[in-house]
């Protein structure tokens, strides 16, 4: 966190100054470790074992916050007897189809509840892509993302519970059994973490959780970049729920995201499968009209019950007067998804010639995405490519000076892609907001006009849309109606006709039938009388005031600091904060008081905005047949979940199991000690000659790639380097790509400090200067020593500070829930010296594949 988020880390330092114990779990000893009380080096890719063992420790040593777990989680809920755990199926859960490599989650449901898998509908899963399997378009729109805040409907009503949590099929007992093999001994064997060190962490975490104390988990998004990435976070969520650390001050799981507003770009999504506010994108084959869409996707209880209001208000914001009840509020104007259109399948579609055009805004896939060569091969097969960035990044110039030009794998004259480069304005050159990990919007004001031809993304998008609309103005083609009818009339200002960012914010906030800004999503109607561009942001422009621009200093308000920026929803700083009070509505402890029930006033009150219907008494129990928020009982803090409870067990919504299970990374030197299944059976694979996988451990050839590689960021640079490698003041601080190794590995492979090393996988080989450092600790795993190689991934061949891109090494292999790549744990070889040049480079990599006996099917086993 100190490495990737030094400014946010000041709050960790403050917590430390107040007596907090800081524990850092990371394969490497980083700047964060230097500040931590305890550093736990572990083998990259083994985190579920570490976290699972903490879960096991909490359950077996009775360290859970029992009153919290009984009241606020689904720990007491009984699961149907059709469910079979990994314990009994040697590493898979019931419902797995070996052929399609997908789970059917019907057997994971609550006992006694109706089957209703609304947001988790799926007809085709990821399975293996490529070569022989081109038809396998994965098709699970918005499942992972929508189920997060949306809370897939597990069929809550009628679910049976055992408040003593003794029933053998209640979630807590299933959990106990499932995690029983995640022991301290297993942690030592799989993660390489000594048992004594593990116990110290377990004791510190449990001693700092409960009524009086809370523990927070912070992670940078490297935690998610695994074939089991979502389940990493799930394991942390289970642990935090058992310890009562969700919805309370000082608790939670904080995702420290890679860019300043990645949270914002999920809320108002750049994701293919979501509409603003986590409403799923309609599917071409399933959602024929508004009614059938809402019926299929909404959840009957909790706040998702009002999805129709949110969606109709969104359609009204976009198409204004054209959206009427008679035409389903232009629901048919929305694009439809037909499959998995996420980043990597799109690259595959480019290589296959199915995707013809590509916009790249503020991203540098030629450096920052897994299997960087495939990114370039995809771009080389396009009709057109638009790159908007500060500088001529690698993704804009691969066609003339990319690595494949040097190796002879591509010739500029053969490439038909028309490449357009547009210089982009920086955040200092435009107005706008960032939404941070706390869901807080903070407005920033333009300081200077952008130089030269540089323009903001808002300018580009607005004026491109305006020109397209002008071109289509006379069109009578029905196909053009969605564009012609669009409300696209933002006021422009300044010398370059910059659209007003505040006008966009006002549209996102929404307005009522009289055009007044609405104050919150509770006001949204399903009849077209209200508009809102993103229902969860409703209120950010309440009273016509830009609430995100508020900057009342912390010293002039209480510790919740409600007047600094604005947090969605409803300026709530801690979501699910009903859980900070006990079932009777009293704070669990005075020390950790946040919101509470005021019986005299008959409403919830407290320091924060209560995340609960303000007039719903803790003693309210819904009558049978209640719907929406009225169906939540007074002890259901997780108001976006159908059952109002925190999910220790996910009865639906996940593509790879209701509980986390440890699987080894796709390319790993170690066998899975937990189960017979080596890898996540539901992972997404890409079969391509440019994307070969390594042999499974124990197979002939696996010894060719004996080391574990992990990639990461440095404080001095930003992601794929577009914002830092061109800046002299940053470039001089970390001037070139380097490879971090331990003195032991250096001795083993003859690597010299500041000399060159070449790192090789089945995909590619890269070179970097060697940094020999004690900070890379060899670990003892499964009775032998494993060396880990550290690769910062910022560099590429362009810019002021240059080097090879670490992502040349990574394979395309994805988590099946959110389609994220596995770049934080892979196997590789390292040798001293520089890599071969020209055609000798692909030949060198091919020789490694040959030595390892790698073929088409290697590593694609189930």
């Amino acid at each position: 966190m100190a490495e990737c988020h030094p400014v946010g880390f000041q709050w960790v330092m403050e917590a430390k100054a107040r007596g907090a114990t800081v524990i850092h779990v990371d394969p490497r000893y980083t700047r964060t470790s230097a500040m931590a009380d305890v550093h736990v080096p572990l083998r990259a890719g083994s985190d579920i074992v570490f976290l699972g063992a903490l879960v096991n420790y909490v359950i077996e040593n009775d360290k859970m916050f029992r009153d919290y777990v009984v009241a606020y989680t689904n720990g007491p809920t009984i699961i149907t007897d059709e469910f079979v755990d990994t314990e009994d199926l040697d590493g898979i859960f019931s419902g797995f189809d070996e052929e399609s490599r997908q789970y059917d989650d019907r057997t994971w449901r609550y006992e006694g509840a109706e089957v209703h898998v609304a947001a988790a509908v799926r007809d085709q899963g990821p399975g293996v892509r490529g070569d022989t399997d081109r038809t396998g378009h994965a098709d699970r729109p918005g499942q992972g993302e929508a189920s997060g805040p949306g809370g897939a409907d597990g069929g809550a009503r009628g679910a049976q519970r055992d408040e003593t949590m003794q029933h053998p099929r209640c979630v807590l007992q299933i959990l106990r059994r499932h995690f029983s093999r995640y022991t301290a001994e297993m942690v030592e064997d799989v993660c390489g973490v000594p048992q004594e060190l593990f116990r110290r962490v377990a004791e510190a975490v449990t001693a700092n959780s409960g009524r009086e104390r809370t523990t927070a988990f912070c992670y940078a998004v490297g935690w998610t970049q695994h074939t089991v990435g979502v389940q990493y976070i799930r394991t942390a969520a289970i642990l935090q729920l058992l310890l009562g650390n969700i919805g309370r001050p000082g608790g939670g799981i904080l995702a420290l995201r890679g860019h300043a507003s990645i949270q914002g770009s999920t809320d108002i999504p750049t994701l293919y499968n979501l509409l603003p506010g986590y409403i799923p994108m309609p599917n071409a084959h399933r959602h024929h009209d508004l009614d059938s869409f809402v019926e299929a996707e909404r959840i009957g209880t909790g706040y998702w019950a009002n999805m129709r209001s949110y969606l109709v208000s969104l359609l009204t914001a976009w198409w204004g007067p054209a959206a009427t009840a008679d035409n389903d509020f232009c629901f048919d104007y929305l694009p439809r998804v037909t499959g998995d259109h996420s980043t990597y399948p799109t690259v595959e579609a480019q290589i296959d010639g199915r995707c013809k055009g590509y916009f790249i805004f503020g991203e540098n896939p030629s450096v920052g995405s897994a299997n960087a060569k495939m990114q370039r091969l995809g771009m080389a097969n396009l009709d057109w490519l638009v790159v908007r960035d500060f500088s001529l990044i690698e993704s804009a110039t691969w066609w003339k000076d990319g690595p494949e030009i040097e190796t002879g794998e591509m010739r500029t004259e053969d490439i038909g892609t028309e490449v357009f480069f547009f210089p982009a304005a920086a955040h200092t050159e435009k107005n706008g907001s960032f939404t941070n990990t706390q869901r807080m919007l903070q407005w920033h004001a333009q300081a200077v006009e952008p130089g030269g031809d540089a323009r903001s993304d808002l300018w580009f998008t607005y004026h491109l849309g305006r020109r397209i609309r002008d071109a289509l103005a006379a069109s009578t083609d029905e196909m053009d109606r969605p564009i012609v009818d669009l409300q696209w009339d933002y006021p422009v200002e300044g010398p370059v006709d910059e659209p007003s960012a505040e006008a966009v914010l006002a549209e996102i906030n929404g307005s009522d039938s009289d055009g007044r800004p609405i104050a919150g999503y509770g006001q949204l109607e399903a009849d077209g009388s209200t508009s809102s561009g993103c229902w969860i942001y409703a209120g950010v422009y309440a009273d016509g005031v830009n609430q995100a621009a508020r900057r009342t200093p912390g010293s002039e308000q209480d510790w919740v600091a409600a007047e600094w920026g604005w947090a969605w929803p409803a300026n709530r700083r801690i979501i699910y904060n009903r859980a900070s009070a006990d079932p009777d509505g009293r704070p669990w402890s005075e020390r950790k008081a946040l919101v509470w029930w005021d019986a005299d006033m008959g409403r919830w009150t407290g320091h924060d905005v209560c995340d609960f219907p303000s007039g719903t008494s803790p003693h309210y129990r819904p009558p049978p047949g209640a719907t929406g928020p009225d169906a939540l009982s007074g002890i259901d803090p997780f108001i976006m979940q159908a059952d109002g409870k925190g999910w220790l067990f996910a009865p639906t919504g996940l593509a790879d199991g209701p509980l986390p299970a440890h699987y080894e990374p796709q390319d790993s030197p170690f066998t899975n000690r937990l189960y017979g299944r080596q890898r996540n059976p539901a992972r997404e694979l890409f079969r391509s000659r440019h994307n070969r996988y390594h042999p499974s451990p124990g197979q002939l050839g696996s010894e060719v790639f004996p080391y574990v590689v992990t990639t990461y960021r440095l404080t001095e640079h930003h992601t794929a380097g577009g914002m830092s490698r061109w800046l002299p003041y940053l470039a001089e601080l970390q001037p070139e790509f380097f490879v971090e190794v331990s003195p032991e590995l250096a001795a083993e492979r003859g690597l010299r400090h500041l000399g060159w090393a070449t790192v090789v996988t089945a995909r590619n080989a890269i070179e970097g200067r060697v940094l020999v450092t004690e900070r890379m600790a060899p670990l003892r795993v499964q009775g032998r020593v494993v060396h880990q190689i550290g690769l910062p991934y910022h560099w590429g061949p362009n810019g002021y500070s240059r080097g090879d891109a670490a992502n040349e090494l990574a394979a395309l292999v994805l988590d099946p829930n959110v389609h994220i790549q596995e770049v934080k744990a892979l196997s590789a070889d390292i040798v001293p010296g520089r890599r071969p040049r020209g055609p000798a480079l692909p030949a060198f990599v091919a020789s490694y594949r040959e030595r390892a006996g790698i073929v088409f099917t290697t590593g694609t086993e189930r």
Binding site: V704, Y729, Q734, A777, D829
Partner: protein, 345 residues
């Protein structure tokens, strides 16, 4: 411990009150000693390296504000320090020191008994590792890293990574200023030492005079450059750029007397928490340079950070030297007089 020690650190100097604080009673007040009538309180930096996270924001903020040029892309191999040291083109420098206390219980004993991971070519490089020691390795006893306040300290067996942001000390007795023949170097009303670039003639006398190696000559320019403690910002009531940018308030700017008190409290807290090696460097007005306007809390000996253990103002012996020179000259002159006088006789 105060309820909110970090916030307290953010105390900013009010330019109005600064002007009213009289320091003339203080014999160590360099501004008054330099002839300022009613100068503002002496200001400076207290850099608490125990909470430095090595982000180098201070280096970048300094260069941005002061227009200091980038000075080369060089991977030094000295941990994450690719800056090297203070110079004409580096006015803030963050040192990174990796101290060898093996991480985790796995090594070195446990590793000796275990087979190596790379079976394929494991033997290839064995014995070739002589030149592989990471640069600055110090054989120190493990000390809890960054122990804070009265926090319970969990002993950390293993590596320690020290990070420390260094800067011009703005000495109470500044040799650079003493030797400057043009008066380009001068003492400001804030007690800081600044080069006037339009006066500097590039003679370079100040460079060997500095006991810390802070000041340097800019290539292609010839003049001497160093930290100004953001004199331009001070004159309008702003704190220096580096302190403003520091996210953890490792770099604290303020009235020197207050910083010294704060540093004393912090040191006492650390000592109570068992960080017995913590020390203040440059805080003592009785040291060889009369104390620094910028001083630092270190977690190890100054030499570990590349700082002279006992800096002495290089002009401290000038008076005695000149006395001897004068004596010798007098003796020579007297001898001459005697010689001539004798001839007359």
């Amino acid at each position: 411990m105060p309820a909110d020690p970090m916030r307290q650190n953010s105390t900013r100097v009010d330019p109005v009150s600064m002007g009213r604080v009289r320091q003339n009673e203080n014999p160590m007040d360099p501004a008054a000693a330099s002839g300022y009538l009613d100068p503002p309180a002496r200001v400076g930096f207290f850099t608490d390296t125990s909470i430095c996270i090595g982000c180098k924001a201070c280096e970048v903020a300094c260069k941005e504000w002061n227009g200091v040029p980038e000075d080369g892309l060089q991977l030094t191999g000295m941990s994450y320090d690719n800056t090297g040291g203070l110079s004409a083109d580096t006015w803030r420098h963050v040192a990174f020191i990796e101290q060898r206390v093996p991480i985790g219980a796995n090594r070195p004993e446990a590793l000796a008994a275990a087979p190596a991971g790379g079976t394929a070519a494991a033997g290839a490089g064995r014995g070739a590792g002589e030149a592989q020691q990471p640069a600055p390795v110090q054989g120190r006893q493990a000390v809890p890293a960054g122990a804070q306040g009265a926090a319970p300290v969990v002993a950390q067996p293993g590596l320690r990574w020290l990070m420390a942001s260094d800067v011009c000390k703005h000495c109470t007795r500044a040799a650079c200023l003493d030797v400057c023949p043009t008066g380009a170097l001068f003492r400001t009303e804030f007690g800081t030492v600044v080069v006037q670039q339009d006066v500097c003639n590039g003679c370079g006398y100040c460079i060997p005079a500095c006991p810390f190696g802070v000041i340097g000559q800019r290539s292609g320019d010839g003049r001497a450059w160093k930290c100004t403690l953001c004199y331009d910002r001070l004159t309008v009531g702003m704190e220096p750029a580096c302190a403003k940018a520091c996210p953890t308030q490792s770099i604290q700017f303020g009235v020197l007397d207050e910083l010294r008190e704060r540093a004393d409290r912090r040191l006492a807290d650390l000592h109570r928490a068992g960080v017995s090696d913590a020390c203040l460097y440059g805080r003592d007005p009785a040291d060889g340079v009369g104390g620094g306007g910028a001083f630092v809390l270190l977690l190890d000996e100054p030499e570990v950070y590349g700082l002279p253990p006992d800096p002495v103002v290089t002009t401290s012996d000038l008076a005695a030297m000149w006395r001897r020179v004068a004596l010798a000259a007098t003796a020579l002159a007297a001898g001459g007089v005697v010689a001539f006088a004798g001839r007359r006789r």
